[in-house]
Symmetry: C2
Subunit: 200 residues, 2 copies
């Protein structure tokens, strides 16, 4: 029991008291439920690995999106983390494939381009050009977070990708749908004015 409480209290946002409550819940639950939790925890580390193509999470060699023939392989959306991919995928608006960087360039934390999957992204862009059998990457959409480090990473990637001769775009920035203009920050309003678009 002490080992379980110890292990649970290492999870983020769960202190000693919460861990005790969770441990007692496991103790009271059926043997089947407890085994399901135990196996799920073990499996997630043993079976889930990065996709060989896009570094998203998957159980096999290739993730479901990369293996899906209906997705547009000429369009690659670059995100920082697998959870960003999930958020974008839930919109149902995007029909291309992804590339997960596994972080962002952050000089203060000692994270450079070499610590990310940037080289593999460049290989994907170049490979498709060389190999006439595969689909050529025509557009790379930079879907990094609209933060200082995300913007820095996007700048680095856009320079590399443009040198490789691929079209580079980024996710739109501006007013969040459903919000109010009067409560938007100056930076958001400045983006909205600069990025204004034709109505048709």
């Amino acid at each position: 029991m002490d080992r379980l409480i110890e292990a649970l209290s290492k999870l983020p946002g769960i202190g000693r008291r919460s861990a005790e409550r969770l441990a007692f819940h496991v103790l009271k639950s059926s043997a089947e439920e407890a085994m399901q939790l135990s196996e799920a925890v073990a499996d997630v580390k043993q079976k889930i690995r990065p996709c060989g193509v896009c570094f998203s999470l998957c159980e096999g060699e290739e993730c479901g999106i990369c293996a899906d023939g209906r997705r547009d392989r000429s369009l690659v959306l670059v995100v920082e983390q697998p959870k960003d991919l999930l958020a974008l995928e839930q919109t149902g608006m995007y029909r291309g494939v992804y590339h997960v960087l596994m972080g962002r360039i952050s000089p203060l934390d000692g994270v450079g381009p070499g610590d990310l999957t940037t080289e593999r992204l460049m290989e994907r862009v170049r490979q498709a050009e060389a190999n006439c059998g595969s689909v050529r990457v025509e557009e790379v959409v930079l879907g990094l977070n609209p933060t200082l480090e995300g913007d820095g990473t996007a700048l680095y990637l856009s320079q590399q990708l443009e040198a490789a001769g691929v079209r580079v775009t980024r996710l739109a920035r501006g007013l969040p749908t459903g919000g109010q203009l009067e409560y938007a920050s100056k930076a958001v309003l400045a983006d909205a004015i600069q990025g204004r678009q034709s109505v048709r």
Copy 2:
């Protein structure tokens, strides 16, 4: 004293108790301070009126922005309320002039295009075309709130304005700068994917 408390408690967000507290503060403050408040309240109704051109708030016939010769009169940004104008003006990014609608089309509240300053906006667009002395309006930026009613109003205006032969744009919609992709709503992410822009 009772009259002051009564009057103060009619202000939004100020109940009977707060009104009493404010009234006692006025009573304790110097005669000069009390007179300043009294005059400011009287002046705001007597002196502030809508600008004759853009319906923004001003003290004379024409507001400071409409009277400013350095502003680009060929570019008109349409907003719902004077406070939206203030928020946009604080960014320092916009060099055109404004038009305040004084509300938005809202069928549920019985507000139609006739209750707003839409006809005067159309006059501004047409007038500048007819009169060779004034600057022709070339672009109208729709800066309505990214809400259901704001979008409806924008749709109505864009149809009217395009029929008048003027270029119509709207403020960019997408990820708010400084936010995180994983916490953005589906609608915001869908806008961001659809409105993606070339990096250069």
